[in-house]
Each structure stands twice: as structure tokens, then as C-alpha cells.
């Protein structure tokens, strides 16, 4: 944790698709800022392409996608490919919220989203502290390896 400099890291946040659930995403954005990261907030109802555009424009290190309304599974298909096409090869991709319709086994849900190319997926009781911890770990690992 000590090895990374959060101020040098830019994260893009937003809620994907036709989803208006902004609360958790805003709290997350506030928390990441407080923790020292640079945060670019796209807000609710953000098409996948806009995430990528913003990430390019701000030379972001990671994209934090929220999805609550249950249709995230449809909205997120091909998200990693979009990033790669835009030249954002190594960008860190996190997803969090209520990712699917109805009550489903989390391990399965997680697997589905990791399969789509997200580096991590978070269930809806996730607290910001845990996200910060994961970010620190992942960026520290990248620093070492990269």
C-alpha cells in the first residue's frame, strides 16, 4: 500500500447503460477521492462507449463501472474489447452493484463478469474501504510487474 501513489492514479466512474442508480456510484466516487485517487465521474445512464472515451481523454488507469438495475449483464458484454480496440489494453476494469436480475449465486455471477474481462467484480454490500484495498493491491502488483 505504501508503495503506490494514489494521487498519480486516475479512475473513471459511472453507471452503465440505461441505469439511473447513482447513489452507490456517487458514494464510491466520493470515497475514492477522499482516499486520494483522481476521479472522473460520468454519473448515471452512461453508455459503454462514453466510459472508454473519458478514459482516453483523461489517460485513466482504471474504469469503475456500476450496474444496479439488473440489465448489466447485457450492457457489459464486449466492454473489454471496446477498451482494447481503443488502445486501452492494460486498463484496470472493476464492476460492482446488483449485477444480474434476481437472487443468484454470487460465485457464478462473479465468474460471468470476470469472463467478460473485468479484473474484479463486487457484490452490492461492498463498502468503499474494500474497494480501496483492492485497488491498492492491484496497482502495487502492476507497479512491480510493469
Amino acid at each position: 500500500m505504501s508503495s503506490i501513489n494514489r494521487e498519480s492514479i486516475t479512475l473513471v466512474t459511472g453507471v452503465i447503460g440505461a441505469d439511473t442508480h447513482i447513489v452507490g456510484n456517487r458514494i464510491l466516487s466520493m470515497g475514492l477521492e477522499e482516499a486520494g485517487f483522481k476521479v472522473v465521474t460520468l454519473g448515471a445512464l452512461t453508455p459503454a462507449a462514453e466510459f472508454v472515451k473519458a478514459a482516453i481523454e483523461t489517460a485513466a488507469d482504471g474504469i469503475m463501472v456500476s450496474s444496479l438495475y439488473g440489465q448489466g449483464e447485457l450492457d457489459c458484454r464486449g466492454f473489454r474489447d471496446l477498451c482494447i480496440e481503443a488502445g486501452l489494453d492494460g486498463i484496470l476494469l472493476y464492476i460492482g452493484g446488483s449485477l444480474v436480475v434476481g437472487k443468484q449465486e454470487w460465485s457464478e455471477v462473479e465468474g460471468r463478469f470476470l469472463g467478460m474481462g473485468f479484473d474484479r467484480a463486487f457484490a452490492n454490500a461492498t463498502r468503499v474501504e474494500d474497494v480501496v484495498e483492492a485497488l491498492d493491491k492491484d496497482f502495487a502488483a502492476r507497479k512491480k510487474s510493469g
Binding site: 440505461a18 439511473t20 447513482i22 447513489v23 470515497g31 445512464l45 438495475y69 436480475v101 437472487k103 452490492n124
Partner: protein, 495 residues
């Protein structure tokens, strides 16, 4: 749709009959099923329904008899699934009002995509849409839903674009319709201007008024929950009153006002009372003398706990709060809320638990409790200035006033996704469990009122030994969803 583009100056005045006829023609031409909307036939159908299947009549009777009716939410992606759901809610759930929630594509007027969703749902044998695609099915098919149940039916469609859906819904025989220009535009959209949202709902209200002119009293309803997230009653009521003035302006006579529960028995009862009171006060002042404005209480709209047993208490208490507060109806959730759209069985259980809770508390009233009276008084003092300010900013016009007040932040909505809302106001729960305002943003409260909010929240910070800062608001978003061992641990656990 040139008659209602953003160029037209917004106003609360009624849409002239000729203009409206034109608007309707344009609107109905947007999707094939629009052609099936036959207003006169629909009017006859509504008139042929027994009174107890007409929500306008049912809400009036419930208010007269002091009932608290139950209503769930619910929508699935195909007619077959929706029929099954509505029958279950009617029969197993004993719902007094049966809902049809539309799917998100329909809400966004993406009917092509909704069509795909129907196909996918049929193929997979389960709902791939988060609601019923009302427009795609059209009024003839949707009428089967009305025929399948013995209760009145209401359309629930969280959107700023209800124009075609409302035409289809009313023509199908739905006698209730939830939604309003200010509440839904501020909570369901990012880039839709408030004026546009208001115009869209003026269309809907004008349509309801047209039915009224032809002798059918439909029930229109304002969704007071807004962002559902710790909305202080003063804000919910102020928006409700403004939305009611807009509906009245189009000629609506039967207009429900919803209020999301704060989960504080006294604050919720006070809110229900003041909401009904102020709605009438402002409607009368604006010259609308015969608008019926029953209040509906909504089960907790914020984040729910992951534990079904904990959620059962929220469901049940939701019935208690509605009954004690004297709400005319209560809109229910289920123990599945934290996870996803409930199964018909879970939805029906939520209805029955709520109904029993209503039964148990039906005699309790807090009107004479000094703490209740003080809260009523405070709430009046909080709310009137917000409405007055908005009306003043609109030179007496509720539509213009709402747009300008939201722009300036004089009327503000917490946690709103909309670009046209400041969303700087920050509510938090105080040490006594009341929802208060930590940061008013640009909203202006009388100094003694503001003082009460600050003092109560400072007291909480003190009691909990935490800083008096924005975190109080964030913690209050999480609070009710926290596991019990955090909310109420065994107090003297061994180290």
C-alpha cells in the same frame, strides 16, 4: 412533436383541446399499436367495469372509509408471465390494487429493443425484461390483464417519457397511472430537461382529464419517492404539491400523492398528515377546489438488508407505519428487495405480511401526541417556504417555478442523477431516528428551522463520538441495509 418542443415556453396552463388532439395523433403514430387506441371505446370499457375495478372510485371509497389498501409492484416480460403474476398478486397476495410495472426499454421508448426482449423471454421461458412491455402488446392484448383480475389495476412506469405508454395503458383499461413530471425527471434521467419531463406528464394528465370529461374518473398518482434515498419529507411534499398543481392545471381530479417512509413512526405519520394538508392548501389557493388527493405510503425505498429475516421487519413495519399514519394505501416490497425483482410468491408474501401489520395497527393514531404535533409543525415550517419560493420564482406558475427552483437549487433533490438538479442537499438520520438535513445546499430554511436540523445531527455525532461531517449522510444511506450485528450487537460482548 413541434407543439411541445423545448422552444415552447413552459407553463402550467391546460393544453388547449385542439393542440392536444394534434399531439395525440402524432404520438399515437409512433408505434403500430398506437393505432389500436380508441378513446371512445376505451371510455365505454372503463364505464362497463364494476366500480371496485376502477381505481378512482376505489381510492375515494378507501379514503372515506379510513382504509389502508395494499399495492405491490410487479412486471414481467411476456403477457403470459404478467397474467400469472397479476393473478398471484390479486389472489395469493390479496392486493387491493394490482400493478403492471413496465420494463426499462419501454420506459425509454425503445420499443424495438423491447420486442427483442419479448422474443428472448419467450425463447428462454423466463423474463429477460424487468417489466411488462405495454406498448408492444398494445391495448387489446393488455386488456386481458384487466380481465384476469378482480381489482383495479395501475401502471407503474418510472420514466420521463410516458406519452405512448399512458395512451395504451388507459385504453387497455388500467384505471390508475403512477408518474409525474418533476419527481420522475429528477430521479430517472440525466440529460432530460425538467421542462421536457413536465411537458410529457402534462400530456398524460391532459389525457386523464379527457377521460374525466367523458365521464371516467381515472386515478393519477405522483411518485413521491424521487430518488428513494433518504428524501426528507419536506422535499417530497414540496415536489408532490408542485406536481399536483401541474396535474390540476390539466384538469385532473383524482390525484394520489406518495411518500416514501423514513421509517420513523412519528415523522412518517406527520409527513402523511402534512402532505395531504398542504396539497389541499395550495390547490385551493390556486383555485382548484375539488381535487381529491389521497396519500400513499411506500415501504422503505433506500437500500435493504441482505437478510430475509431483517427485511421481514421492514416489510411489516412498512404496514404499521402506513396504518398508523392514516395513509389511504401502502405500496409494498418483499424480503427479496436487496437481491432483485421478487418472485410472485415472495411478492405475495410481502403483501400479506403488510396486510396483517395494517390490520394490527388499524386503530392507532398519534394525532394528540405532543412529539407528533411538534413534528407536524416543524414540517409545515420547512415545506411551505420551499413551495412558496418555487412559485415565486415562476411568477406564480408551478411549471416554470419548478424548473427555475431546481436550477437554482432552491428546490433540491438528494442523490439525483439529473444534470438539471443541483443535488447538493444532504440528508442524514439524527440521534432519535428522524431524517434531517445535514447540508441544505442552496435550499433556504428559516434560521430556527435550520438550527433544529443542525442541532439534532450534532447531537447524533456527539452520541456516536464521530465527526459532524458528510459521513453522517453516507452512513445514513447504508444504515438500514447494515447487518444486525452492526446495528444492534449484543451490548456487552466479551472482548
Amino acid at each position: 412533436m413541434n407543439l411541445n418542443s423545448d422552444d415552447t415556453p413552459i407553463s402550467a396552463a391546460a393544453i388547449p383541446a385542439d393542440d392536444f388532439a394534434l399531439m395525440r395523433t402524432e404520438n399515437l403514430a409512433r408505434w403500430p399499436t398506437g393505432a389500436d387506441v380508441d378513446l371512445d371505446e376505451a371510455v365505454e370499457f372503463h364505464k362497463s367495469l364494476p366500480q371496485e375495478k376502477q381505481l378512482g372510485w376505489v381510492m375515494r371509497r378507501a379514503a372515506e372509509e379510513g382504509r389502508c389498501l395494499t399495492q405491490p409492484r410487479g412486471g414481467f416480460g411476456t403477457l403470459e408471465l404478467q397474467l400469472e403474476l397479476m393473478r398471484a398478486l390479486d389472489q395469493d397476495g390479496m392486493a387491493d390494487i394490482v400493478p403492471t410495472t413496465t420494463d426499462s426499454y419501454t420506459r425509454n421508448e425503445q420499443w424495438e429493443q423491447a420486442a427483442t426482449g419479448i422474443e428472448e423471454s419467450k425463447r428462454q421461458g423466463r423474463s429477460m425484461l424487468n417489466g411488462f412491455p405495454m406498448v408492444n402488446y398494445g391495448p387489446k392484448e393488455a386488456r386481458k390483464l384487466i380481465e384476469a383480475i378482480n381489482k383495479p389495476a395501475i401502471v407503474l412506469s418510472g420514466t420521463a417519457m410516458p406519452r405512448l405508454t399512458c395512451e395504451v395503458g388507459f385504453a387497455a383499461g388500467f384505471s390508475g397511472y403512477l408518474g409525474s413530471g418533476i419527481a420522475y425527471t429528477t430521479s430517472y434521467t440525466k440529460d432530460t430537461s425538467i421542462a421536457e419531463g413536465i411537458r410529457n406528464y402534462q400530456y398524460l394528465d391532459r389525457l386523464a382529464a379527457l377521460y374525466q370529461e367523458k365521464g371516467v374518473e381515472l386515478h393519477r398518482r405522483q411518485p413521491g419517492f424521487l430518488t428513494g434515498t433518504n428524501v426528507p419529507p419536506c422535499i417530497a411534499i414540496a415536489v408532490g404539491v408542485l406536481d399536483a398543481l401541474l396535474a390540476a392545471g390539466q384538469g385532473v381530479k383524482n390525484y394520489g400523492l406518495e411518500l416514501a417512509q423514513t421509517l420513523h413512526l412519528i415523522q412518517d405519520a406527520a409527513a402523511i398528515k402534512v402532505c395531504g394538508e398542504l396539497a389541499q392548501e395550495y390547490l385551493l389557493a390556486a383555485g382548484f377546489e375539488d381535487m381529491f388527493t389521497p396519500v400513499t405510503s411506500l415501504h422503505w425505498m433506500g437500500a435493504w438488508p441482505q437478510d430475509d429475516a431483517q427485511s421481514a421487519a421492514l416489510v411489516s413495519y412498512g404496514g404499521t407505519l402506513a396504518a398508523v399514519g392514516g395513509a389511504v394505501s401502502v405500496t409494498t416490497k418483499s424480503t427479496h428487495e436487496a437481491y432483485g425483482i421478487p418472485t410472485p410468491a415472495a411478492n405475495a408474501e410481502g403483501l400479506r405480511t403488510t396486510r396483517m401489520a395494517v390490520y394490527l395497527a388499524r386503530h392507532i393514531r398519534l394525532d394528540d401526541l405532543p412529539e407528533f404535533k411538534a413534528e407536524v409543525d416543524l414540517l409545515r415550517r420547512e415545506t411551505r417556504p420551499i413551495i412558496d419560493k418555487a412559485l415565486e420564482m415562476g411568477d406564480g406558475d408551478a411549471a416554470l417555478g419548478a424548473v427555475r427552483a431546481l436550477e437554482a437549487g432552491a428546490l433540491d433533490i438528494p442523490w439525483s442523477p439529473s444534470r438539471f438538479v443541483k443535488s447538493r442537499v444532504m440528508p442524514a438520520r439524527d440521534a432519535d431516528g428522524y431524517l434531517r438535513i445535514y447540508d441544505p445546499g442552496d435550499m433556504v430554511f428559516a434560521s430556527d428551522v435550520a438550527e433544529i436540523h443542525t442541532e439534532r445531527l450534532k447531537k447524533r455525532a456527539e452520541v456516536e463520538g464521530v465527526a459532524f461531517d458528510r459521513n453522517l449522510a453516507v452512513k445514513s444511506v447504508y444504515e438500514i441495509s447494515e447487518p444486525l450485528d452492526k446495528l444492534l450487537p449484543f451490548p456487552w460482548a466479551a472482548e
